[in-house]
């Protein structure tokens, strides 16, 4: 059961795990919109250490305005960046 749906406003958590994760530093704390629900996948943060990554976690594509991500973004205001973010990294915005 996915917590968020396409179009929903979300924020990436400002979390700083010490180990492997797939949420780049540059996107933490940023606000975006769910572009789609990708499905559920074993958690890479656990797979990386030999665990089976179950139960699966829901993965989303999230769309961010570049101007939100980089305060000094020099391109046009409508430019976008999209990443895949796991549900446990997201909170409602």
């Amino acid at each position: 059961m996915a917590r968020f749906e396409a179009g929903g406003a979300v924020r990436v958590k400002r979390a700083f795990p010490r180990g492997h994760c797939r949420t780049p530093y540059y996107i933490r704390g940023k606000q975006g919109v769910i572009e789609r629900v990708c499905g559920a996948f074993p958690n890479p943060e656990e797979l990386a250490y030999g665990f089976d990554g179950e139960p699966k976690r829901v993965l989303y594509r999230v769309r961010f305005p570049q101007s939100e991500v980089w305060p000094d973004y020099s391109g046009p205001r409508q430019d976008l960046i999209e990443l895949e973010i796991y549900e446990h990294w997201l909170e409602p915005a």
């Binding site: 570049q66 409508q78 895949e84």
Partner: protein, 194 residues
């Protein structure tokens, strides 16, 4: 082959031989994989996208579910999940993996050295237009540049805009202008009259 054998080449061969001796893998399996990467995978992307250009119904299916559309067409992308993103007069897509070098290998073969380079991984998310310019691609200000960081389980391929002068071209001719760089989004297909 040039230059002295590096320590890493030696380490890699040693690991492979040990695994073969222990029956974990066979030399033939590795050889077959090398062949696939060299001979099979690199040609696939151009053919799939050329087919999408030629067949609007296939294009629609590809955009909805990249992996299923490829499978229906006879291409097994193995473990990779594929999202095809289309360029339009208003939107230009470009792909990167900032964290390592995730890339749709089963569709495009091995990524080019520039894709894996620090400078590309660092800069294309933050100043995509400047990086595209270094590839000779300049986009007008009214076009949205949409960067995709392949940071988790999905893989991406760009469906470029089909140049107008390619009307009536065969899929083989279309595939020829769909170079690898156009499918990652750093260049645009260049059409000359056949």
């Amino acid at each position: 082959m040039s230059g002295p054998t590096s320590e890493y080449e030696i380490m890699s061969r040693a690991m492979q031989e040990l695994l073969e001796e222990k029956g974990v893998i066979t030399a033939e399996q590795v050889r077959r994989r090398m062949e696939q990467f060299d001979e099979e995978f690199p040609a696939r992307g151009s053919r799939v996208i050329a087919h999408a250009w030629a067949d609007p119904a296939f294009r629609k299916r590809l955009l909805e579910d990249g992996k299923a559309a490829c499978a229906e067409w006879g291409l097994d992308l193995e473990a990779e999940r594929l999202i095809a993103v289309e360029n339009t007069p208003e939107v230009h897509n470009v792909i990167v993996c900032t964290l390592c070098s995730c890339y749709p290998r089963a569709l495009l073969g091995m990524p080019p050295t520039w894709y894996k380079s620090e400078n590309y991984r660092k800069r294309v998310v933050r100043e995509p237009r400047a990086v595209l310019k270094e590839f000779g691609t300049v986009l007008p200000g009214h076009v949205t540049v949409r960067v995709h960081d392949s940071n988790a389980d999905m893989r991406y391929v760009v469906v470029p805009m089909r140049p107008a002068c390619t009307d009536g071209w065969s899929e083989e001719q279309l595939a020829e202008i769909l170079t690898r760089d156009t499918l990652v989004g750093v260049t645009l297909p260049q059409a000359r009259a056949p």
